[in-house]
């Protein structure tokens, strides 16, 4: 099949505020194929969550959404409310960041899953309950038959997130959008939850759009990565290509700022200087240029997103993409030299090697 599952073309989201228009997403285009996992990575304010909510049509009415979003050929932005509701929670599902508040505190976990099922499927209460028990089992809740009658406050954070996933996949969606599904959880539980997502994916063939700021989480999970910054796509490509052959200073900066728990002597983490740009007054030209170590005069003109490797579809938004590996290597040597060789070259250097 050549039509992708999800096709986003030139998506623009603007919020009108008293201080001016907040351009949260600007000209975002991407696709998600059936069954694949796409990771959307970026700092807070990069527009990744807004893009996800725009696809689900969950943005407040104050948001202006333009462009096209096609899901299995249907234009979501043109659907009426009823048509959209039929998709939401059925073929198109979403799980949220905070498992503490994303479950309704006054209903049992089972009731909530049953409701999710019965909103879209014409099945009896008991059939839905049986299915809910199965789902809880699938996401690794121990004693699902008893646990189904628990209230959310009787679940731990990790269990709640699993229950959320069970709810999200209740109707075997074609696309599951997971917005920072593990951010509120501690590291060991994060790994378990991602494992659950993978298991579910294998069982149902669901495509996952994983929205996160955590590159480490992405490494083992995603087929493709898409890095966003200032409401724009900065780099996109297969996970390994982006990890080991990034052609974007922002992506390299993100990777240099992840602590590594494995091996080697202590290395200094390299934060990206400055903070993400205000979406009301974006810098002229390349949005990342004020924070970029490699910025030049040319960066005053906004670079286009361009494909650097046609075979893998690796694309980046940087004027200096071709010379970047050399620049990074040169800088790493300089840094190592100035610190008397005490620090190893940063991950940025490793990444480009």
């Amino acid at each position: 099949m050549t039509t992708p599952l999800l096709e986003v073309d030139d998506l623009r989201v603007t919020f009108r505020t008293d201080d001016g228009d907040v351009r949260a997403v600007q000209g975002l285009s991407f696709t998600v194929a059936e069954g694949e996992t796409l990771a959307v990575v970026g700092e807070s304010g990069s527009g990744k969550t807004v893009a996800a909510l725009a696809i689900m049509r969950l943005l407040p009415r104050t948001a202006r959404v333009e462009g096209t979003i096609r899901f299995r050929g249907t234009s979501l932005l043109d659907l009426d409310e009823d048509g959209m509701r039929d998709l939401q929670g059925d073929d198109l599902a979403m799980i949220f960041q905070d498992p503490m508040t994303a479950l309704n505190p006054v209903f049992t976990v089972g009731d909530q899953i049953v409701e999710a099922i019965r909103t879209h499927r014409d099945v009896t209460e008991s059939a839905a309950r049986a299915r809910a028990t199965e789902l809880l089992d699938l996401v690794g809740i121990p004693e699902p038959k008893q646990r189904i009658d628990n209230y959310p406050h009787e679940f731990s954070g990790g269990m709640r997130q699993r229950a959320m996933i069970a709810m999200g996949i209740a109707n075997e969606p074609k696309l599951l959008i997971a917005d920072e599904p593990t951010t509120a959880l501690d590291v060991t539980v994060q790994a378990q939850v991602m494992e659950v997502v993978r298991t579910v994916q294998e069982a149902t063939g669901t495509a996952v759009m994983l929205v996160t700021h955590d590159l480490g989480l992405v490494a083992g999970t995603a087929d493709r990565i898409q890095v966003m910054y200032g409401g724009r796509l900065f780099e996109a490509g297969p996970t390994d290509t982006v990890f080991y052959g990034s052609r974007n200073p922002y992506t390299l900066g993100l990777m240099a700022s992840i602590p590594s728990a494995v091996g080697r002597t202590a290395r200094r983490l390299e934060p990206i200087p400055g903070s993400p740009p205000s979406l009301i007054a974006l810098p002229e030209g390349c949005a990342f240029s004020p924070r970029c170590a490699f910025a030049t005069e040319a960066c005053r003109d906004e670079p286009e997103l361009r494909v650097v490797d046609a075979a893998s579809g690796h694309a980046t938004r940087c004027h200096r993409a071709e010379e970047l590996p050399d620049l990074v290597a040169a800088r790493a040597t300089a840094t190592a030299g100035s610190e008397g060789g005490a620090a190893e070259p940063g991950a940025a250097g490793d990444g480009a090697a």
Partner: protein, 296 residues
């Protein structure tokens, strides 16, 4: 402790009980609420069955016993025209309780729907409703009530409707506040993401979270309503005599307050007791209906 034992231990405490069963168990542990419930049940029984067992009807006059204090033949005494005050008090209690319940139900229903709409939608609709609520809250309701009661009110139902139409803002304001608090919670977004309609989100997802404050205020309303009804009765604008209500009885007793205080104290005592019982039961219900308060 390893995860497995922790899970097993948590598993042991999760005996499946239906929500109603759990709520009742929680309610039973609330001692004051239980006492109040029993008292209210006893009073209601007396109001319903008492007059039927009594040898007197509420308008029967016994000219051999005018304006008496409590005695064996007339445990609550008699009024100046020889009517048995026990029967009149019970019948009065019946009317007062019925009016109060009707007021509580109507007021809560109107207030909840308006408050929910205003809180959930916000914007211009919310602001408009807010202004109406404020308008109703600043207008002295007793004066309006007196005017309306004089114009339309004499039957118990008319009185109840008039009072409900004036007191819904009390509930609406509370429900509005709670909806404002809950509408931006992530579970509401999650419900929308699961394809729930707006009506479903308002009444099935958010409303149950607001039950606690609604129930408490509905029971407070019973108290307020009984007192309002009594006030109207005392002023002679409530349910028309000879039909007794607790308020009417106090009004009728005012000529003999010095010589025969029991005629005012007995219905007054019922008013106070019913009001208190309603409040305690409300307290108990609030705890019982909140699943997170489960302590077992």
């Amino acid at each position: 402790m390893s995860d497995a034992t922790l899970d097993a231990r948590e598993g042991l405490t999760t005996v499946s009980r239906s929500f109603g069963r759990q709520a009742w168990d929680r309610f039973r542990r609330h001692r004051l609420a239980m006492i109040a419930l029993v008292l209210l049940a006893l009073m209601t029984t007396a109001f319903v069955v008492g007059p039927w067992l009594s040898p007197y009807a509420f308008s029967d006059q016994d000219f051999s016993a005018l304006n008496q204090g409590p005695s064996l033949a007339h445990p609550f005494g008699t009024d100046p025209i020889g009517r048995d005050l026990m029967v009149r008090t019970f019948i009065g209690g019946r009317y007062s309780l019925r009016i109060a319940l009707l007021i509580a139900v109507l007021t809560t229903a109107i207030g909840t729907v308006i408050g929910a709409l205003s809180g959930y939608f916000g914007g211009r609709l919310g602001a408009a409703i807010d202004q109406v609520i404020n308008l109703f809250l600043i207008v002295p309701s007793l004066i309006i009530l007196i005017v309306l009661a004089a114009r339309y009110g004499s039957g118990p139902n008319a009185i109840a409707i008039v009072i409900a139409l004036l007191s819904w803002p009390l509930i609406a304001r509370i429900v509005r506040g709670s909806f404002l608090q809950f509408r931006d919670q992530e579970f509401v977004l999650a419900a929308r993401a699961a394809g729930a309609s707006t009506r479903r989100i308002m009444f099935r997802h958010i409303l149950p979270n607001v039950f606690g404050p609604i129930v408490v205020n509905a029971t407070l309303l019973i108290g307020i309503a009984i007192i309002l009804e009594s006030t109207l009765g005392f002023l002679g604008l409530g349910v028309r005599p000879p039909v007794p209500t607790l308020g009417n009885l106090i009004a009728e007793s005012k000529g003999a307050l010095q010589t025969k205080p029991s005629a005012a104290l007995i219905p007054g005592g019922f008013i106070v007791t019913i009001t208190l019982c309603a409040n305690f039961i409300g307290d108990g219900l609030r705890d019982a209906l909140d699943p997170t308060s489960r302590k077992s």
